[in-house]
């Protein structure tokens, strides 16, 4: 009995050490340019032109190569094709992606969490190159 009691501090010591030997991983991922929100309030359907949209927000992404984020979505089968690759030019799309990864690595237990969120602006233009409708969502606010 006494012999067993003698080893309890050692066992507790090993357990304590295993708790102390932990690691944390934090990762941040940014893709694309931020969308200037102050300009979104100035978009007026029927008035704002395609040229103004391009001068405010830059070249839309449907003229660029698909983003890495969209390629991941495609591989995960969330979307079957690059999200912003529209085969017609009357939709202008802008996307800014952010990803947060955090992990706790213990000896006996690991927890890994990854979140990817997007700010997304899409503008529909009519045949007179005027804004027809638009939508904006700031998904990056959901990242803590």
């Amino acid at each position: 009995m006494n012999m067993t009691l003698r080893y309890i501090p050692r066992v507790l010591g090993v357990l304590f050490l295993s708790v102390l030997m932990t690691g944390c991983i934090v990762g941040r991922y940014y893709e694309g340019s931020t969308i200037p929100e102050e300009k979104i309030k100035e978009i007026k359907p029927g008035i704002t032109t395609k040229e103004e949209i391009i001068s405010w927000f830059g070249p839309p992404q449907n003229y660029l190569t698909p983003t890495i984020f969209n390629q991941i979505l495609r591989e995960l089968d969330v979307t079957r094709e690059p999200v912003n690759y529209y085969p017609f030019a009357n939709i202008l799309s802008y996307q800014y992606n952010r990803g947060n990864v955090r992990a706790v690595v213990l000896i006996l237990f690991n927890y890994i969490e990854g979140k990817v969120k997007s700010d997304h602006l899409v503008v529909f233009v009519d045949e007179n190159d005027k804004v027809q409708y638009y939508g904006f969502y700031k998904g990056t606010d959901e990242l803590r």
Binding site: M3, T4, Y7, V11, V14, P45, I72, L73, L76, V78, T79, E81, V83, Y86, P87, F88, I91, S93, L106, I107, L108, F109, N110, Y111, I112, E113, G114, K115, V116, K117, S118, H120, L121, V122, F124, Y133, Y134, G135, F136, Y137, G139, E142
Partner: protein, 130 residues
């Protein structure tokens, strides 16, 4: 004898490394409203949809109108492994469970930009924690 037995058991326990991993992945944003409450077939138009749900993840053009696709993807993974990683690299026991689910909304418009039909599936509520 017992002086030797306890450290030996400790060494054996440390040698047979075991552990569990839990992973969580979130891609995209939740669908912001319940489509069954917000969408009225034949009345709601593209502008309403954009203001209610925001920009879609995907737009497809068809000969008789556009399709908007909204998706929110989540993946939960859990893994438990007992292995001997030093000498034999033997996995004695392994259990893994991976769940991939998504909330999915597809809206079909007619040529005038009015909702013709829609489909909504909530897969994420089927996710279990482990």
């Amino acid at each position: 004898m017992s002086c030797v037995r306890l450290p030996a058991l400790l060494v054996l326990a440390m040698t047979l490394a075991w552990g569990c991993s839990i992973g969580r992945t979130y891609i995209g944003s939740e669908i912001r409203s319940d489509p069954r409450e917000k969408i009225q077939i034949g009345l709601t138009n593209k502008s309403d949809i954009l203001s209610i749900f925001g920009p879609p993840e995907r737009i497809t053009s068809q000969f008789d109108g556009d399709i908007f696709v909204y998706a929110y993807y989540r993946k939960n993974s859990s893994k438990f492994v007992i292995e001997e990683p030093y000498f034999t690299n033997l996995t004695i026991f392994s259990y893994a469970r991976i769940q991939e689910k998504k909330d999915h909304l597809v809206i079909l418009f007619d040529k005038d930009g009015v909702v013709k039909n829609y489909a909504y599936q909530r897969g994420i509520k089927e996710l279990s924690p482990f």
